[in-house]
């Protein structure tokens, strides 16, 4: 696809000349760099509750964000109106961050190399609504059919189709079409008048609707949610204090996201406010750990052809055999640190200033058989699923909340335990990794990462991991 065939050019008759003139306006007060981010976002969401499709919504938002960088200063403005006067006005407001003569030399806009990591012909958003509605009806039926103790089911399906275009004063001109779909099922179980318990499962990606019909069906997610709720019915209190923790493969990779991922974002590191600041080249994890952030995995929720600053995403090694190798960069931080952009400049929407963010963050597989890992633990807990997590990047302390875990006694999984938060310290936690499984799995595609009020879709993954020491926040 060339520029003239691109979404904003064909639909809003925006020309290269227009883009160049807006960038000139943005640099009219000086400034070292300017970029424009055009976004047209269509979304839909449908929910079923008590077996009734109670809610369905669809909508459109569009706009353009203009950013000007002068030294370490950023000026930002946006408009939800794509008329030339309104875009120029936004460019003028953003320009005022700089105070100097207009920048005159111009770099002609050039389209970068094209690739498509999500070759989705028909985005789920473009399919018939009734087809998508059928997914949540199937999920509802499957969760209820799983076990008579399931008494409440809610299922939600949501998708979006985002068209973006980025033009920068450095000459980058990128456009992309970003489909995304996700479904989630929550189930409540109870038995003999006991307190109810909840289970949740979901997934998706930058996929066609057929993903939910052939690969991960509504029944798959529904049964998983129902299973988790039933498991909790017999759960005992979780232990309190330090113990050996084994994390199952896949979604428990949220550990990496919280323990190291955020702390390696370049904005925190150039400001030296991260617990990882100044530690490149140092041992921050056990030599068994190699941690990657990769925005190029096909059809994944956290993948992007280009980041929200127009740079291609790539595979970045964060930790190699326990040694800290690199940070996640955006345009501003890479300029200041004189590093190359890593394709991690992301933003929630045209109303937001981009920041370094993760894409799909995971640990490479090791050599241990997962069964051997569990067998090696005399006393500890095994965590199969998690809710969310959070980190204080300055102290490095992070938490993640286990939603399905089991006691390990004499090398065997015994009883299910109730929800508990696990807490650790980023630069220390991974030093206690003593076994890494050969079973790397990525999560099923439900991650949402929040930072400074901006949410973006991400992925995580780990193989089975044994951590010799971690604090579990139970009551037993």
């Amino acid at each position: 696809m060339s520029f003239s065939e691109s979404f904003f050019s064909s639909r809003f008759a925006i020309t290269r000349g227009d883009l160049e003139s807006y960038i000139s306006e943005a640099l009219s007060q000086g400034g070292d760099y300017a970029d424009l981010y055009f976004e047209y976002l269509s979304t839909s969401q449908i929910s079923i509750d008590e077996s009734i499709v109670k809610s369905a919504t669809q909508g459109v938002s569009l706009g353009v964000g203009v950013r000007v960088i002068a030294g370490e200063r950023t000026g930002y403005a946006y408009s939800d109106d794509l008329s030339p006067e309104k875009i120029r006005q936004a460019a003028h407001v953003a320009a005022c961050i700089a105070a100097g003569p207009a920048k005159v030399e111009k770099t002609p806009l050039e389209e970068g190399r094209k690739r498509n990591l999500y070759p989705v012909l028909t985005a789920p958003h473009e399919t018939a609504f009734l087809e998508r509605m059928d997914l949540i009806k199937r999920a509802d039926a499957a969760a209820r059919g799983y076990d008579p103790r399931i008494f409440q089911v809610q299922a939600t399906y949501a998708d979006s189709l985002r068209h973006v275009m980025v033009a920068t004063s450095a000459g980058v001109l990128s456009f992309d079409r970003q489909p995304l779909a996700r479904m989630g099922v929550a189930a409540l179980a109870r038995q003999n008048g006991s307190a109810p318990q909840r289970g949740y499962a979901g997934g998706g990606g930058r996929v066609e609707l057929s993903f939910f019909l052939e690969e991960k069906t509504p029944e798959h997610f529904a049964r998983e949610a129902a299973r988790q709720a039933i498991v909790q019915l017999d759960a005992v209190d979780a232990p309190a204090g330090e113990t050996t923790v084994v994390l199952g493969p896949g979604w428990p990779g949220i550990l990496l996201h919280e323990a190291v991922g955020h702390g390696l974002e370049a904005d925190f590191n150039r400001k030296k406010v991260s617990a990882f600041s100044g530690r490149i080249g140092q041992q921050v994890a056990s030599p068994l750990c190699t941690v990657i952030d990769d925005g190029t995995i096909r059809n994944r929720r956290g993948s992007l052809n280009v980041d929200d600053e127009g740079n291609p995403t790539q595979r970045n090694v964060l930790i190699e055999n326990g040694i800290l190798r690199g940070y996640l960069q955006d345009a501003l931080s890479s300029r200041i640190l004189r590093a190359s952009p890593t394709g991690n400049g992301r933003r929630e929407s045209y109303e937001h200033i981009p920041m370094p963010r993760m894409t799909n963050t995971f640990m490479l597989a090791g050599e241990s058989d997962p069964a051997d890992i569990i067998r090696s633990v005399p006393k500890g807990i095994y965590c199969a699923n998690f809710g969310g997590g959070q980190v204080d990047i300055t102290s490095g302390n992070f938490v993640f909340a286990a939603s399905e875990s089991y006691l390990i006694e004499d090398g065997k999984l015994t009883r299910a335990v109730r929800n508990a938060t696990l807490i650790g310290n980023g630069p220390e936690a991974l030093r206690y990794v003593s076994m890494v499984g050969n079973d790397l799995q990525l999560d099923e595609g439900i991650g949402i990462c929040g930072k400074e009020g901006q949410s973006v879709p991400v992925g995580v993954g780990i193989p089975t991991l044994k951590i010799d020491r971690m604090t579990v926040g139970g009551t037993a």
């Binding site: 909508g59 200063r73 102290s395």
Partner: protein, 450 residues
């Protein structure tokens, strides 16, 4: 677009929906302007300024509901939104309780709630930058151990919300907000910590002075330095007002109408029962002038009001919108909350715990060994069961005094028991946002550490 135009547009949109086959419709239009400046290490780091508008429509065809939104408020944009909502309302399920409030329930508080103050819009950019700079400087200058910072910031927003429905309700109100914050980073040896303080107000004049904001942030970050992990043990836990507010948010989720009808709350089905210590009274009041949780009407056109949620330990009321009230055979409590998309949800007004008699100092003075919680992280609260397990940081209390800072620990218990075990409620209630709680003491929780 002037205010009359937006109200007219909302009414016309509702009319258009009815003409196209809706049996009822509700239209929301939101307009807002935002400004923010961040100063870091005494230099301006970022400055943002912009405005936007969005419209949303919820349409019913009998007992089926559909909704749509758009940022394109042109005639074509609105027309597309109306068509989208109606298309969906034709294919969703029949829900016997779907609908909008009865005409008699609609209305707005006529008194001036002081939600908008024009001084927020009049302040010049240079003044805002100076304030952010002064707040950060006060933190940086407070102590040599504060050598770094995530900055000082000034944010302001003004907005207008317009709502119209097919039962002749039309209403609108403006609101304003500004805040001043400082986020210093302190270092001593290997210990690096960050904390913040923020002052928020509806009027520029209502903000705390920049020097105070910076100074409080500095005190907070300094007292965290050298934090250590403690042994796993069961001890009394004191929540300072900033963390006590989060317990109130947990109570809100537990009395939320949707959690109640789905039996997804540990407080479901317990109206009239004693669920907390007799000293605990929780009030939701959306009518207090000038506060952040106030509004003349909720997001489906029902007047805001005062609801006693827990009175002297007894669960008195859930918080409901029209839909959840009908599901439960009750009346709405005027707590409908809705952005511009989806079905109507539930929000709180000013949700607060009535203050007690004892000062925070008196509460702490009686504790031999315990944890004073100044920060909570993570989402480990299960509203279905009441199970509570979160990451915490704070100060250790020994013999009635602060002994040393603590971090990387968990606190765990169950909300059922925590509400019963609330041994002391402080006298220090302050409204710094739409939830407010004084210092709270829970008799015993499990602190997870070494």
């Amino acid at each position: 677009m002037s205010q009359n135009h937006l109200a007219e547009l909302a009414q016309q949109t509702v009319k258009q929906a009815l003409e196209r086959g809706a049996s009822d419709a509700e239209c929301t239009i939101r307009e807002g302007n935002e400004f923010s400046v961040n100063v870091r290490m005494r230099e301006v780091e970022s400055l943002k300024q912009a405005g936007s508008r969005t419209a949303g429509l919820r349409a019913l065809r009998g007992k089926r509901a559909g909704s749509a939104y758009t940022s394109d408020l042109s005639a074509e944009g609105i027309e597309r939104m109306v068509a989208s909502a109606l298309e969906l309302a034709a294919i969703t399920g029949e829900d016997p309780h779907a609908g909008i409030p009865e005409p008699g329930e609609l209305g707005a508080i006529s008194a001036d709630l002081q939600l908008y103050c024009s001084d927020v819009e009049r302040i010049e950019t240079a003044v805002k930058i100076d304030l952010a700079r002064a707040a950060e400087a006060a933190a940086l200058d407070a102590d040599p151990r504060i050598t770094n910072s995530e900055g000082g910031s000034f944010d302001s927003r003004t907005g207008r919300r317009v709502f119209a429905n097919s039962r002749a309700f039309v209403g609108e109100y403006r609101s304003s907000y500004c805040s001043l914050a400082a986020v210093p980073v302190a270092r001593e040896g290997d210990s690096m910590e960050r904390d913040y303080w923020v002052s928020m107000a509806r009027s520029f004049a209502g903000l705390e002075p920049a020097a105070h904001v910076g100074r409080v942030a500095a005190d907070r970050v300094l007292r965290r330095l050298g934090a250590r992990k403690v042994k796993t043990q069961r001890v009394p836990v004191v929540f300072e007002p900033r963390t006590a507010r989060s317990l109130l948010s947990n109570v809100f989720e537990a009395v939320h109408g949707e959690s109640i009808y789905r039996h997804a709350s540990f407080l479901a089905g317990r109206l009239g029962e004693k669920v907390a210590t007799e000293a605990l009274t929780v009030i939701d009041d959306g009518t207090i002038p000038g506060l952040f949780g106030s509004s003349p009407f909720d997001d489906e056109g029902v007047p805001s009001r005062l609801t006693a949620v827990i009175e002297r330990g007894v669960l008195k009321s859930y918080l409901l919108n029209t839909y959840t009230a009908r599901k439960l055979g009750m009346k709405t409590t005027g707590n409908a909350s809705r952005g511009v998309s989806g079905n109507t949800g539930i929000g709180h007004g000013n949700l607060f715990i009535e203050p007690g008699e004892r000062s925070p100092g008196e509460i702490i003075a009686r504790i031999a060994d315990g944890l004073y919680v100044t920060e909570l992280i993570g989402s480990g609260v299960n509203i279905v069961t009441g199970d509570y397990s979160r990451g915490a940081a704070g100060l250790w209390i020994r013999n009635g005094e602060f002994a040393f800072p603590v971090s990387e620990v968990t606190i765990a218990g169950n909300l059922n028991k925590m509400l019963m075990d609330m041994e002391a409620i402080g006298s220090d209630l302050e409204f710094r946002g739409s939830t407010a709680a004084p210092t709270l003491l829970i008799r015993e929780m499990t602190v997870g550490g070494r």
